[in-house]
Symmetry: C2
Subunit: 549 residues, 2 copies
Amino acid sequence: MIKIALAQLNYHIGNFEQNTAKIIENITKAKQQGADLVVFSELSVCGYPSGDFLEFSDYINKCEEALEHILPHCDTVAAIIGAPHRNYSGKGKPLFNAAFFIENQKVKHIYHKGLLPNYDIFDEYRYFEPATSFRITEFKGMRLAINICEDLWNLHDNPLYTGNPMEELAAQGAELIINIAASPFSWDHRGQRESMLTQNARKYGLPLFYVNQVGAQTEVIFDGGSMAINPKGEITGELKYFEEDFRIMTIDDVIKQKGRTPREGEDANRKIEVIYQALILGIKDYFGKIGFKQAILGLSGGIDSAVTMALAADALGAQNVLGVLMPSAYSSDHSVTDAQQLAENLGCPSYNIPIKSTTDIFEAQLKPWFEGLPFNVAEENIQARTRAVYLMALSNKFGQVLLNTSNKSEAAVGYGTLYGDMCGGLSVLGDVYKTDVFRLARYINRHQERIPVNSIAKPPSAELRPDQKDSDSLPEYDILDPILYNYIELRKSPREIYELGFNKELVDRVLKMVNFCEYKRYQTPPVLRVSPKAFGMGRKMPIVARYLG
Amino acid sequence: MIKIALAQLNYHIGNFEQNTAKIIENITKAKQQGADLVVFSELSVCGYPSGDFLEFSDYINKCEEALEHILPHCDTVAAIIGAPHRNYSGKGKPLFNAAFFIENQKVKHIYHKGLLPNYDIFDEYRYFEPATSFRITEFKGMRLAINICEDLWNLHDNPLYTGNPMEELAAQGAELIINIAASPFSWDHRGQRESMLTQNARKYGLPLFYVNQVGAQTEVIFDGGSMAINPKGEITGELKYFEEDFRIMTIDDVIKQKGRTPREGEDANRKIEVIYQALILGIKDYFGKIGFKQAILGLSGGIDSAVTMALAADALGAQNVLGVLMPSAYSSDHSVTDAQQLAENLGCPSYNIPIKSTTDIFEAQLKPWFEGLPFNVAEENIQARTRAVYLMALSNKFGQVLLNTSNKSEAAVGYGTLYGDMCGGLSVLGDVYKTDVFRLARYINRHQERIPVNSIAKPPSAELRPDQKDSDSLPEYDILDPILYNYIELRKSPREIYELGFNKELVDRVLKMVNFCEYKRYQTPPVLRVSPKAFGMGRKMPIVARYLG
């Protein structure tokens, strides 16, 4: 009756003191509750992803010291802990991504990860040497196949890797699979993850314990969802999503119990719900981990700033979110009333700073050069940038973090002002297409009208010139978004997108905008990642390129 | 007497039409001049680095089409061309980084790169499967060891890779090494490259032909410097640095000729000279490849904007570089006169837009909230951001690209205003420490006083409050820069830096600033890379981390 504790924790990158304390606390808890083995997630001592800190020898020393501190606590309980391990072979990258199996206060077995993800947000080949041989280890007479995250992700017909560690571990008579992971959230990932893990349990006819990291690390959100799976591939134990959790299960129970079958894909309603939960965690952890409590944002009366404010209020508390109305000469009356109504509905403070006198001065000073030239994007952007100056001045004076309110559709086609509305410490909606922003707004209003319905119902407008509408420059969002999705997420060719029934000229224009605006996205804040392909660290595009440009 | 043409060209990423035309033009030239074989650089059909465009199947199709267009031209001359090659094995990453050997209008041999760099700016594991076996090919009775860039970079005691392709090729009786590369510039790289290539020639006792890419791809600058090396490891033929070049050599001559020995390191004077040349190419290609002709920048009278303007004038022509003076209430008289003198010396146009009336309006509008609070960074930043609004308004109206003038020391410690002086399309000096900016200024003035000596001599100041000096907030640059160099380039620990003789408290404060300001650097423009460790794509740091923070 071996009892295994799954410790699903939220680590802070490079915060060794806090991470070590958390791990020791959970070891103690596991002992108190009679567990035989407690399992922590991938690279738990330092947090995942640590980026180029892994190239600092001092950082690796700190990881080793953390393990030294943890060892003595593993007396009556064994532990599996993720940490980098130096490569002493004298060949290859200087580190392995390792799982340390600790028993009787000693490291009994070190497993090195074999399949190193190096796509999207992952770049493990940058730091780690992949292992090419794999060993099981014994614990209380049972043969454990300990492995790490991606090591179980090579089951398909056209595998991304040439090897398969689990084959080797199974051949050594494994009786139990334990996978420690740092598997990030995207709205469609939960189904894929359940499918992959349950397939492994079924294929090898073994019970599987899975421990994932939880918590956001800047843009990357880890959703937890650790679980136990029986040898039939049914999920018999589940930990929470989007929060820390701790649970003890006996191996016998996991083997014997009937569980649920894995999720097949995600339905549309759940998509919006999990995006909401992920964004809340993303905001909360960004602020918590940099040590800030308050947010500021510009309120236009439109839907993007309204949804951003509602999310921030839910994550940080309404009183900690300051909305600033900055009407210009081109702002409609409803832009002000809708924004005021929003702040009132949510219980957030708001300031009102009309910007006309400021933009007038800018234009007056520029008159010697601008006189006689038509009003164009230069004057439009002065408005957006003037607002940014006000927001940043308040942020600098009072210590709030500016939230960016751009959505993914705008960010994709560059419909936004660099150093204007593209400012902010964190982009909350930068991975949410406009059509999903509408769905999020309705989800936020599911119990009561928090976001004024007028902000949802009115046609989107930047209000930077008289009677401007987004649809003056862009196709309607229900046409634009699927074109973008096919190009950005699915990486389809222009021809493949025409063949879906979209107008050729429009597709060409949209893709050209996407590629041309790379220079703008390069300078925008980190984007909370909720899709399988977000702008930012997971999408690396050259700026001076000419493909479809 | 086999004649080999080395074609060192400047490619434009994703511009298949232009790259293909250039390759065909050089094939034609090689034929006209009686060459037997013409060699192009790594991934020449698409340009290097293509980033995630390599994940688009359509992009790979375009590479294949480019090769199809090129094939018929290789009738009386053979060619070696770099291009991605699909991995048809059904296992591993979908592409190989390949060299296509074309003879008699047919692809006769395809070599797959084995050692994939995945550090600093390189992330080849993201796209490519490494080859694990390597074959020579024959040409006119000679056994060629064709290989690609990093494949020759595994000679040291503690190798980064577990394999060594050249060992396998040598064992097959190779008689000639041809290496096609995309090896980027850094000020200290030329010596390393010559050393590595000549060691290979000597170790295997073979002549070596090396063709590198030239030209800047946004931040990454390729310096060319293709060469031929005799079996003793002497350099017998050299192509130009920082420009396109084409040269034909016979193998016999390369083998027989005595050449020069490889460079040992770089001396300090050469460092500044090559940085100057690299920055000129970087500016020229950024503008050329995005299709812009004119630059704009703010002139403070200080040394950073002066050096940036001089470099831009040399790269783009003085008449294409507009300087804007924007004195505030805190600007000294000399800030205006020095800036005017600079523009006059260089022959650049300049505008003068005093900003006091604008910052007054900002402060007046903020009075309800700021009243009674002390003047601080909020008011300082209003000035810097007001200047950015003016610069961007002019840029938007007249189509110039704003040049960022921040240096590496400032960028490192976050001594700059986000959305203020940290704006710009391209950071010219972002990889040049302040002490080297002074050296660059003197280099630019080597023949005559182009940068006013007063801008070089006066103590650096941001002039955002009365009598402000950089040294109020920062240590002197001749102390700050070596601390930064040891941490950023050498990745030393705090303790190792104390042991170099720097004050502990100061080191701790500086390193904390560096790590804390990651969020600012995340949103700054691409930085022309001239050192082995520039901010930007080659240095990936988490924002919410707490290491030394």
